[in-house]
């Protein structure tokens, strides 16, 4: 009978992982990736890009206040936010594509969670020492030594977090100006909230949550198996060669036993705390550090490397049966993803190329729908918005057709006429338009507006209605 009095645990406490230091090819790639990616993250906002006097000169800027986003030569208005969706879709397909080719290289080398955790572990190691020392310190009772080491580690983590949050806000403001303000402690609360919340989340995610983010929070880790096939690169342990594993005495010969000496170097260096010899598992982020660790051991033992290696299931199977199978990069799955990727890219590129510098929106008045005039003619009012996306002030000519005998008039300041509507560079011009015409036959007649930039260029057309009765 089951003991129902035993309290059920709803939460499995994960043991803290203390990855050991490792040298090797993949560790080097990870260092380089970290320096490049963090370097880009911290310096990109300071990159300048000249757009003339009417727009900011920051290469990458999301200007919430003025509702513009700048990305080098691309400038986006709020109504073009679908490009953002396009970028998301592109990013997703790029991720799928890369995954089907090379496995979880994103997880292993490029994911912010990986990069920052790596940085935090490095800080931890510099102050508290390598794996064994950290384990000992973790278990040790509180002492002066433990207190100052912990305090320094956490302080440095918080400083890194502060810089992370600090760099983030530069993407939304003019970076040099904001930097100056930050140095003077003179920042608006919105900036402060972002800096502090990102400081905190960086500290929490890279300092404490670490592998749990990949295991429990990240959806990508869960559905990656959908993108895997037998040709996908995974980190694989060559069980054929490694087993039977076990400690080896000097006198013992290599015959009748596997090459794995069960030194657990691969487990000790793993930032996810798993044993790769158990085979492909969800927690493996494919960073390759176990490969470096194992190769170093194999070198000392004068054995060939690659007991743990980047591998494919197909090759593993082939080796088991004594053959060699070539990894096929071009296969239906990669072709599909490549096609989708290029289709979305082409679509977005097309959108950017045909993007007009002029746009018009005309809203027919709702109250009153129409105005009867004393001479029997009818007047309709419209709210006109002209979007001048060019970097210069322009004049526009607005004409209409479809109603017999119509005339246009602009109501507003000064002597603005429909022949010369001034709109400032990179902004929206609002105009109040009246169309007067002898009463047409239809109570709701079609009317077509044409907007021509006086200096030439795209001339958008806008269809609306002319109401003359209820």
């Amino acid at each position: 009978m089951t003991d129902i009095s035993a309290p059920q645990k709803l939460f499995k406490k994960s043991p803290r992982i203390f990855p050991k230091r490792v040298w090797g090819r993949f560790r080097q790639i990870k260092w380089i990736a970290m320096v490049v990616l963090l370097g880009l993250y911290y310096t990109l906002p300071f990159l300048r890009w000249d757009r003339g006097e009417h727009a900011p000169d920051q290469a990458i800027l999301i200007d919430m206040v003025h509702q513009r986003a700048y990305f080098f030569f691309i400038e986006l208005w709020p109504q073009e936010v679908f490009y953002l969706a396009g970028i998301m879709i592109l990013a997703a397909f790029a991720l799928f594509f890369a995954t089907s080719l090379f496995g979880r290289i994103w997880c292993g080398y490029a994911c912010p969670q990986t990069v920052w955790t790596d940085l935090f572990v490095w800080v931890e190691r510099i102050i508290q020492g390598d794996r064994m020392k950290r384990l000992k310190l973790h278990k040790a009772p509180w002492s002066f030594d433990k207190i100052w080491k912990m305090a320094l580690t956490h302080t440095l983590w918080l400083v890194i977090g502060l810089f992370t949050g600090g760099a983030w806000v530069f993407y939304f403001n003019d970076a040099p100006t904001l930097l100056e303000h930050i140095l003077r402690f003179d920042v608006p609360w919105s900036v402060l909230v972002w800096i502090l919340s990102l400081t905190f989340s960086t500290y929490l995610m890279a300092g404490f949550a670490r592998d749990q983010v990949c295991n429990y929070m990240c959806p990508y880790a869960r559905f990656q198996s959908a993108m895997f096939d037998k040709n996908t690169l995974i980190i694989g342990y060559d069980a054929e060669r490694g087993e039977t594993r076990g400690r080896k005495r000097k006198s013992e010969s290599w015959d009748d036993r596997g090459h794995c000496v069960d030194c657990t170097a691969c487990v000790q260096v793993c930032p996810m705390g798993i044993d790769i010899r158990d085979g492909l598992q969800m927690s493996c982020i494919a960073c390759g550090l176990c490969i470096d660790a194992c190769d170093n051991v194999m070198e000392k033992l004068d054995l060939p490397k690659n007991l743990i290696r980047y591998d494919t299931s197909l090759q593993q199977e082939a080796r088991a049966s004594g053959g060699i199978e070539k990894t096929r990069l071009i296969r239906p799955r990669t072709i599909y993803y490549a096609m989708l990727l290029s289709a979305v890219s082409a679509l977005m590129l097309y959108g950017l190329i045909v993007r007009s510098e002029t746009e018009i929106h005309i809203l027919h008045d709702r109250n009153p729908l129409f105005v009867q005039l004393s001479d029997g003619s009818v007047r309709n009012g419209y709210a006109v918005k002209i979007l001048n996306k060019a970097g210069e002030d322009r004049l526009f000519r607005l004409t209409a057709r479809g109603i017999e005998g119509l005339s246009l008039r602009i109501q507003g300041v000064g002597d603005v006429t429909p022949d010369a509507l001034p709109v400032y560079a990179d902004s929206v011009g609002h105009f109040r338009l009246f169309v007067t015409a002898p009463k047409p036959k239809d109570k709701r007649a079609e009317i077509e507006f044409l907007l021509e930039p006086v200096g030439g260029g795209d001339s958008p057309v806008y269809d609306s209605i002319f109401v003359s009765g209820k």
């Binding site: 009095s5 009153p368 105005v371 009867q372 005039l373 004393s374 007047r379 009012g381 109040r432």
Partner: protein
């Protein structure tokens, strides 16, 4: 249910409440610790809240409507007053210049014009929309402010005077005129003939000679010999396509017999001069404004 029979439940190790219904006993499971912590934290929080914010109603007190104020000295009333002060401070930026400028100057100045229209639109919605409609389209008896037919004049200055002093309003300066009731002065047939003459002329026809004679004797003084009205008297144009009440002959007969007179209240004293000027600009901008 009987006397206290609290006992320890054998499965959970928790005490029961001692209540029993048909063999079913109720566990007296203690509150989870996290729940209690949150509960006590809320109590401590509330004490702090009472101290800092207005919390307790009293019959009188420092609060605007009685009640404790709290150490932060913050109430919704003070917040409202601060917001109002902020609005008038922001208005101040334009108001001085707006008050000093003539309507003609304002109509050439984008900032002042925008200030006038924005204030005018808000004030129109609060004060004028009740009769004239939110779009200013009017209703029978209440003039449409969008069209080009003005009883008392359609320039900004004319509109300003009408808004400020009203028409037939309780103000010394009010615009005033009253169409006399003809039911006691003329025969029913004569009134019918006049109404027929007016509808005929409004439709572009000549009208009867008798009707013309009656019109010239009785109506032309105010409505003009050409039937086009006279703004000095607020007398409507009778030959355009717009009618304040109705274009039907029966309605015109009623209006000659026993005229209805609309009343536009005077806003002088109820709205400040800046607002009245904003209203004049806004109404003028609706589309029918004259030079």
């Amino acid at each position: 249910m009987s006397e206290n029979k609290r006992e320890t439940d054998e499965f959970t190790g928790t005490e029961t409440t001692g209540h029993e219904w048909d063999g079913i006993k109720e566990l007296d499971t203690p509150m989870p610790r996290w729940w209690l912590i949150v509960f006590y934290a809320c109590i401590i929080w509330s004490v702090g809240y009472w101290w800092i914010y207005p919390a307790w109603p009293t019959l009188s007190g420092a609060g605007e409507r009685g009640g404790t104020v709290g150490s932060a000295n913050w109430t919704q009333y003070t917040q409202l007053k601060e917001s109002q002060a902020e609005i008038s401070a922001r208005r101040q930026e334009f108001q001085g210049e707006f008050d000093a400028a003539s309507f003609a100057e304002i109509q050439q100045n984008p900032a002042l014009f925008a200030f006038g229209i924005a204030g005018g639109r808000a004030a129109f919605g609060d004060n004028c929309a009740t009769c004239h409609g939110t779009g200013g389209a009017g209703a029978p008896g209440y003039p449409n402010l969008n069209d080009d037919d003005w009883l008392w004049g359609g320039s900004v200055d004319d509109i300003y005077v009408t808004v400020r002093y009203g028409a037939r309003a309780a103000h010394e300066e009010t615009r005033f005129s009253e169409m006399p009731a003809f039911e006691d002065m003329l025969e029913t047939g004569e009134i019918g003939e006049m109404a027929r003459f007016i509808t005929a002329r409004a439709a572009g026809a000549e009208g009867s000679a008798q009707g013309a004679a009656l019109y010239q004797d009785n109506c032309a003084v105010c409505h003009g010999e050409d039937l086009k009205g006279l703004r000095e008297y607020g007398a409507p144009n009778l030959v355009d396509t717009l009618w304040l009440y109705s274009a039907s002959e029966a309605e015109i007969v009623t209006q000659i017999n026993k005229p209805k007179h609309g009343l536009m209240p005077a806003w002088d004293g109820r709205l400040d001069d800046t607002t009245i000027r904003q209203l004049a600009l806004f109404v003028h901008s609706l589309g029918g404004g004259e030079e």
